[in-house]
């Protein structure tokens, strides 16, 4: 297949679109809520009616700046919007409002870490733009149908420098962006659901050459796995062409993950002549010093900072820190609960064991966790004070995980408190001893293990509401 006499280097740059988590669209007051019936979130502005006036959503600009600051960018203090002209039915204005000449952020970088060590990936620019509508192809009607609910949903496009050299670096870069943006609350960044989309620009060149090869752009990559496969496939395709003495055509290709191959796209992306010009409907945005400082001050603590701080503040394993900080929601939940109960180790245990188990079982993300820090803190206290035993605590936790109910009330209502009445316990043990002469004999005969069965029987008789340690102790005394 590939002649490996020549060594090739893969050069990759990424264009990442991120759907911002605003409540409304970028230029109108329509909802961005996902899943509405077709065209129920539309108005004259986002369906491109003549004579309408777009007005910028301030939150879009603030999110874009926040991402830019996190990615060490220069913020463009005088920025404006441009029209990108093309005809396609998902674009009702026949132009997309975007930024070409003065994008909001420029010249930044993010640091990634791979097996090969740490590395900076340059950010060429970040600009704001609007999303297009969704086309549905009507197989029978011989026509297409458009739903403009997504038209005008705010996006930022993060354009990297061609600084990546492998799929591993690309994934590390995307993970880094995703984490950063999730920490900012600017987007949930879900590739599968399209709130984060990556286009891969890739070229190959002989190792040691300075000049870039001809690049192709690959679209339709909606998982990290698809991205890694598409990079490998495109690298091989290009090397094979070069080895055969053929030229690489600069084109847009669509990745088909099921087939594991890409093909050239024939569509709007072919018309590269977008005839950009400044949008006269939108006045420029001037980011004054004071405003920028305000935004800067609002930047949250990012994952790296949190990890460092956790190591110093909480006595929990480094592995736990890594898992907990991998999700902003989980980290917030952890910190809030620790604030309330002051027991980092116990909070971490509930998150690392039971929470992760239930998330996995139910196919949920940390973002879907519904129980509150206050309730988790209460549960920890109930277990600590031995009001409930550990088995009951797990049962209560499962119920809390499902509906965030108050564990104190739940324990009260369901009568789950450990019975501390020694008389009742003694009575139960006497019965168990009377009913299980074989085990009693075994234990007395030196079979230490037999006591386990007797403890189990007593717990059963107590309907689980006893402290097993105490039962064990009393049994030993009574046998």
């Amino acid at each position: 297949m590939i002649n490996m006499e020549k060594q090739y280097e893969t050069v990759i740059g990424l264009e990442v679109h991120v759907e911002l988590a605003t409540k409304t669209k970028i230029f109108c007051g329509c909802s961005t809520a996902f899943g509405g019936a077709p065209n129920t979130h539309t108005c004259p502005v986002c369906t491109g009616m003549p004579g309408t006036l777009p007005i910028l959503n301030k939150q879009v600009l603030e999110y874009a700046v926040a991402v830019g600051l996190a990615a060490n960018c220069e913020i463009t203090r005088y920025c404006k919007f441009d029209r990108k002209n093309y005809f396609y039915p998902d674009n009702p204005q026949n132009y997309q409002i975007s930024q070409l000449y003065l994008p909001i952020c420029r010249n930044g970088y993010v640091e990634i870490e791979t097996e090969g060590g740490k590395k900076k990936v340059g950010i060429h620019e970040i600009h704001m733009e609007e999303d297009a509508g969704k086309l549905i192809h009507d197989e029978w009607g011989g026509c297409s149908l458009v739903d403009y609910n997504r038209s005008g949903v705010p996006l930022i496009e993060i354009v990297s420098e061609p600084d990546m050299r492998s799929a591993e670096e690309v994934i590390a870069y995307l993970e880094k962006l995703r984490m950063m943006i999730q920490y900012l609350g600017a987007s949930d960044c879900k590739l599968q659901e399209g709130s984060m989309r990556a286009d891969v620009n890739l070229s190959v060149r002989e190792m040691g050459t300075e000049e870039f090869g001809t690049r192709t752009e690959m679209k339709n990559l909606n998982s990290f796995r698809a991205i890694a496969r598409a990079i490998e496939g495109e690298r091989e395709r290009q090397i094979e062409l070069l080895e055969a003495g053929d030229a690489i055509i600069q084109e847009t290709r669509r990745w088909d993950d099921a087939k594991g191959e890409s093909y050239a796209m024939r569509s709007k992306e072919d018309a590269q002549d977008y005839r950009y010009f400044p949008d006269p409907d939108l006045p420029p945005v001037v980011v004054e010093e004071g405003w920028l400082e305000e935004m800067q001050a609002r930047q949250p603590e990012f994952r790296e900072g949190k990890m460092e701080r956790y190591k110093e503040e909480y006595d929990i394993p480094e592995y736990d820190i890594e898992i907990i900080t991998a999700s902003k929601c989980m980290a917030d939940l952890f910190e809030e609960t620790v604030k309330l109960c002051g027991q980092p180790k116990k909070v971490s245990n509930w998150l690392m064991v039971e929470t992760l188990r239930l998330l996995k079982e139910k196919g949920m993300d940390a973002e879907d966790i519904c129980f509150s820090p206050a309730n988790l803190a209460k549960l920890i206290r109930l277990a600590d004070e031995k009001v409930i035993n550990s088995t009951v605590a797990k049962e209560v936790f499962e119920a809390m995980f499902d509906s965030d109910m108050d564990p104190e009330k739940y324990v009260e209502e369901k009568g789950l408190k450990t019975v501390s009445d020694e008389g009742a316990l003694k009575k139960a043990i006497e019965e168990v001893i009377a009913n299980n002469p074989k085990s009693v004999e075994d234990y007395r005969g030196g079979k230490e293990k037999a006591i386990g069965f007797l403890v189990g029987q007593t717990m059963k008789a107590m309907k689980g509401k006893a402290d097993p340690g105490k039962v064990n102790e009393m049994l030993k005394g009574m046998l």
Binding site: V60, L61, Y148, D273
Partner: protein
């Protein structure tokens, strides 16, 4: 392609080639008859001449203007103000099916 094809020497009138008008027609999704093409070529040539005329002015100490109004930072708050207007919006559709706009078939 987007270069000014057909442009001759400086100061001479702009002449638009057939190739150029064809290309502009494709970009603008316009189908022009032979007669319309000739007319469009002449009009475009005149427009470019006018732009060239402006280019003769010395603007070295004029600030580039990016917007015609002396306005900046016009924002909306991120608050939903629009309800379901689907019925009204679909009145503008060339055709409607299942609550969506019917458009000519597109291929990916």
């Amino acid at each position: 392609m987007a270069k000014r094809l057909g442009r001759k020497e400086k100061k001479m009138a702009n002449e638009i080639s057939d190739e150029m008008i064809e290309y502009v027609g494709i970009l603008a999704k316009l189908e022009l008859s032979g007669e319309e093409k000739e007319q469009a070529k002449a009009d475009m040539g005149k427009m470019l001449d006018y732009i060239d005329k402006l280019g003769e002015l010395d603007t070295s100490d004029v600030e580039p203007m990016s917007h015609v109004f002396d306005m900046q930072n016009v924002f909306r708050d991120d608050v939903v103000t629009n309800g379901d207007m689907r019925e009204d919006m679909l009145k503008n559709a060339p055709g409607e099916k299942d609550g969506m706009f019917i458009v000519p078939r597109t291929f990916e």
